[in-house]
Point group: C2
Chain length 167, copies 2
DNA sequence: AATAAATTTCATTTATTTTTGAAAGTTTAA
DNA sequence: TTAAACTTTCAAAAATAAATGAAATTTATT
């Protein structure tokens, strides 16, 4: 396999993986492209390489920056903007974890707390609902905390954790 | 909030959360419904409660069973099939982890290995590509292993892990 | 302050995913 | 062996999500 082919395959695969995890394909592809680029890339280049429109590129770059995993860069004497991706994978994972927690897990927890707090009358049906949603609340809260604890280990946390579990 | 309202809110929220993580909304809703039902539910009931078609119910129940998190049950003397969800949350998380690993992570790892193994000529561009995809391969492999190790702790693994990290 | 270069926005179009529903298939029991 | 009860399948329709592209906006330059 040659470089061009490999790069393309990587971008496509990362895009597909993104889709499967609820991230829009183009957003994941742009991210992939920036991850393996050794120097900052302009919007023009991204449009060209992924064959997408200016609007699409602009919106997804904005989204990636909102996630905190892509940065704008300026080159002196150049008007156009360049982009780079967070290349430290530990840092990347931490940012994604924190963001998903904030956007998706925390709001879900709020709802779980609400619905598990209803005044259940005596019926088996209601009793079971409250029990199950309470358990779910506890579980999700615990999972969210585990993720938080894991990612607060600063350097090379994944390796450290793996070692911990191995022994 | 009353029971009906709470149940509906839970189902909707679980459905939305599913979408955000790449699981189709109806599939997540059916799962939610079964999770909080104290007794097995028929396809008819599901169609009625979620206002969906027979085909939709059938296909998503099949998918949930393929994931190993919903089971068919038969009632003696009754022809129709009933469904229940895995209610043990530790077990549920383990099954989802294993399945996503098998379906999504493992294939992605295979590609990462391929593309990181190209014969890079001397250019900075190719050198960087190989380095970055290699790192990514290592990272994803490690993450996959961590998940595997975590979920093989049989009982109440999440709590155990949390304790581990607290100290 | 006028022009040029680049970026963002968003109504519309396009693509993708999900859902429907009716026909085909399966199972059970008379 | 057939017919009723129930489930699955899948082509077509509907709903949803994503992408386009041109106008509006912003930013830099003369």
């Amino acid at each position: 396999m040659k470089f061009r082919e490999a790069k393309n395959k990587f971008v496509q695969t990362w895009g597909a993986l993104g889709s499967q995890w609820g991230i829009n394909k183009t957003m994941a592809q742009i991210h992939a492209l920036l991850m393996v680029s050794h120097e900052p890339v302009s919007m023009e280049d991204i449009m060209e390489e992924l064959q997408i429109s200016r609007g699409n590129a602009s919106m997804n770059l904005r989204a990636l920056m909102d996630w905190g995993i892509v940065y704008k860069e300026y080159k002196t004497g150049e008007r156009r903007e360049y982009f780079t991706a967070e290349k430290d994978l530990d840092e990347l994972a931490v940012k994604i974890s924190k963001e998903r927690s904030k956007r998706e897990i925390k709001p879900a927890l709020k709802v779980l707390k609400e619905v598990s707090s209803i005044e259940a009358d005596g019926t088996e049906e209601e009793r079971h609902f409250v029990e199950q949603t309470s358990k779910l609340y506890d579980f999700v809260l615990k999972a969210d905390n585990v993720l938080d604890k894991m990612t607060e280990h600063k350097d090379n946390w994944l390796a450290q954790i793996l070692i911990k579990f191995m022994k």
